[in-house]
């Protein structure tokens, strides 16, 4: 969860994803100087990398939010419920 704080400074997947689309549009329009195009291309590649990094770093995890006797919350890995069992349905 400390890693989470680090994520804050980095753009989110959504921001990178949208920026990438924007960059492709600008490049396709053929506007701007060659220098600007190179800068955009590099930024686009960085956005791509950012998206893939975010995805790579993400991993499947299920946790239970539990509370101890004093009412303090803590997390516990969750193993059940992947296979269906039934209650009141």
């Amino acid at each position: 969860m400390t890693a989470n704080a680090k994520d804050e400074s980095k753009p989110s997947f959504e921001v990178s994803f949208d920026r990438l689309e924007e960059i492709v549009k600008v490049l396709e329009s053929g506007q701007g100087t060659l220098d600007e195009s190179i800068t955009l291309y590099e930024e686009g590649m960085a956005c791509l990398k950012c998206c893939h990094d975010l995805l790579k770093k993400a991993e499947k995890k299920i946790q239970l939010l539990m509370t101890d006797e004093e009412g303090k919350p803590y997390l516990q890995d969750f193993t059940g419920a992947d296979t269906s069992d039934s209650e009141s349905s």
């Binding site: 997947f13 959504e14 490049l27 993400a58 939010l65 059940g80 269906s84």
Partner: protein
């Protein structure tokens, strides 16, 4: 008096009330009433005091606080109710009232009424207003589930969530979703997940299908408020399609079932990944396209004659300059020749060859002209002199004096005016008369007006020169 007495001994008030209490409470251990509520009052201690009435009578009633807490609906004024309870006599005051054990609205289920009442109240407060809805994140990475950890619903949700987003993080807040205290657990879990440092992108709150009573926790105000106050967007997923709870109305997005909640909460990452690949491809193509276009332009430019034969232009210009120089030279020669020709013509003119010839001739001309002028002037003066002499003779012959010489006289007044009309004279006036020789003064004796033509004619003659008069 004895008729009223009954037992001989009079009773105390306390004794009477005690006997009434025993009789009434023994006779009415249980009453079932249909009535309308009135004068509902919640005491600070939490008991409800009110009246039950019909169109003619009323009776006091009380609902003690442990039963008030279990009341699902609001006991409103004028509510048609069915009450089960017992009659209780308040011995100290000699009054009696209904101690309510159960109270339900008439003609409508208690839960149904409670739902209606809460819905109306929360709607008035604006909790359902579209402007209060938060948008769902497009790419949630961490999701919180508020549901029972052992239900089929959670299994369904996890299955769909991980099928669509295999790398999702899910935090489950396990709660009871029905029964006593369920609403409180659900509300606490929502608040707890909001405080959680994991910074969830989205919450799904729900459970599988069940009876209206099973779903009741999601109709409670506490849950509604927790959902409303959540900073994290909330998707509700309660029961089946036909069930709509208060939680569904407050949630930012309502899913009809837990499975649908999972589907609308996360995108299909396989699709996102292929979209990302597509964008990567587009990025490369767009950039390459740009480079290729630039290259094409470069090639086109390099084919330009200026670059292929760079000296051609220069040679052309050198030649042009030389031609200009030639032209210039030729032009200069012509101009010089023309100037020289004109100079020669000028030099050959007599005035320049013998410059004094003309002057001498002019001098001679001038002398000739001067002689002629002198001669003419002399002749003209002679002529004028002769004419002048002639004029002088004529002028002398016209003089009054020469007229007087011929015997006429001239009479003038003392002022010197010539007397020509006798009527201008007065008697006794002095006049002066000039004669050929000498003059005399005289005094007018009489005047005589004469229209004689002769006199006029004479005057005329007087003026004209005698010689010239016929």
């Amino acid at each position: 008096m004895k008729d009223f007495g009954g037992p001989a001994e009079p009773l105390s008030v306390s004794e009477l009330n005690r006997r009434v209490k025993r009789i009434i409470e023994g006779r009415f251990p249980q009453v079932n009433l249909v009535a309308e509520t009135s004068g509902v009052r919640l005491t600070p201690a939490g008991h409800l005091f009110f009246s039950l009435k019909d169109d003619q009578s009323e009776i006091r009633a009380v609902l003690w606080k442990d039963r008030v807490r279990k009341l699902t609906f609001d006991l409103e004024e004028g509510l048609e109710v069915i009450v089960r309870g017992a009659l209780r006599v308040f011995q100290k005051r000699g009054t009696y009232q209904v101690e309510v054990q159960e109270i339900v609205p008439k003609g409508i289920g208690a839960l149904q009424l409670a739902y209606k009442q809460l819905f109306a109240r929360l709607e008035r407060e604006g909790l359902f207003h579209p402007s209060q809805k938060k948008g769902l994140p497009r790419f949630p990475m961490k999701i919180g589930l508020v549901t029972s950890p052992t239900s089929a619903a959670i299994a369904d949700m996890l299955r769909v969530l991980f099928r669509r987003a295999p790398r999702l993080k899910v935090l489950v807040a396990p709660v009871r979703v029905q029964g006593e205290g369920a609403a409180n657990e659900i509300a606490s879990a929502i608040r707890c997940l909001n405080r959680n440092v994991a910074q969830l992108d989205l919450l799904i709150v729900g459970r599988g299908g069940g009876s209206p009573e099973d779903l009741w926790a999601f109709n409670e105000e506490e849950v509604a408020r927790a959902i409303f106050e959540s900073q994290i967007p909330v998707v509700s997923a309660v029961g089946h399609e036909i069930d709509t709870t208060i939680a569904d109305h407050v949630a930012d997005r309502r899913a009809q079932t837990p499975t649908e909640a999972a589907e609308i909460s996360v995108p299909d990452w396989n699709q996102i990944l292929s979209e990302l690949d597509q964008r990567k491809h587009s990025l490369r193509m767009a950039f390459q396209g740009r480079i290729v276009r630039d290259q094409d332009r470069l090639v086109a430019l390099s084919q330009h004659p200026v670059l292929l034969r760079p000296l051609e232009g220069i040679q052309d210009r050198v030649q042009a300059v030389e031609e200009l120089a030639l032209d210039l030279r030729r032009g200069l020669g012509l101009a010089r020749d023309r100037a020289r020709g004109r100079l020669e013509v000028l030099e050959s003119r007599p005035v320049l060859v013998r410059p004094l010839d003309g002057v001498a001739e002019r001098l001679r001309d001038l002398e000739r002209s001067s002689d002629r002028l002198n001669r003419e002037a002399f002749l003209r003066i002679e002529k004028m002199r002769n004419r002048l002499e002639g004029l002088q003779g004529r002028l002398e012959s016209l003089s009054p004096r020469s007229v007087i010489q011929r015997g006429y006289s001239l009479t003038t007044t003392q002022e010197g005016n010539v007397v020509m009309d006798a009527s201008t004279l007065e008697e006794g006036q002095k006049v002066r008369t000039c004669l050929a020789r000498g003059e005399f003064e005289s005094r007018v004796e009489t005047t005589q007006l004469s229209a004689s033509k002769a006199a006029g004619a004479l005057s005329d003659v007087d003026i004209s020169a005698p010689g010239e008069t016929p």
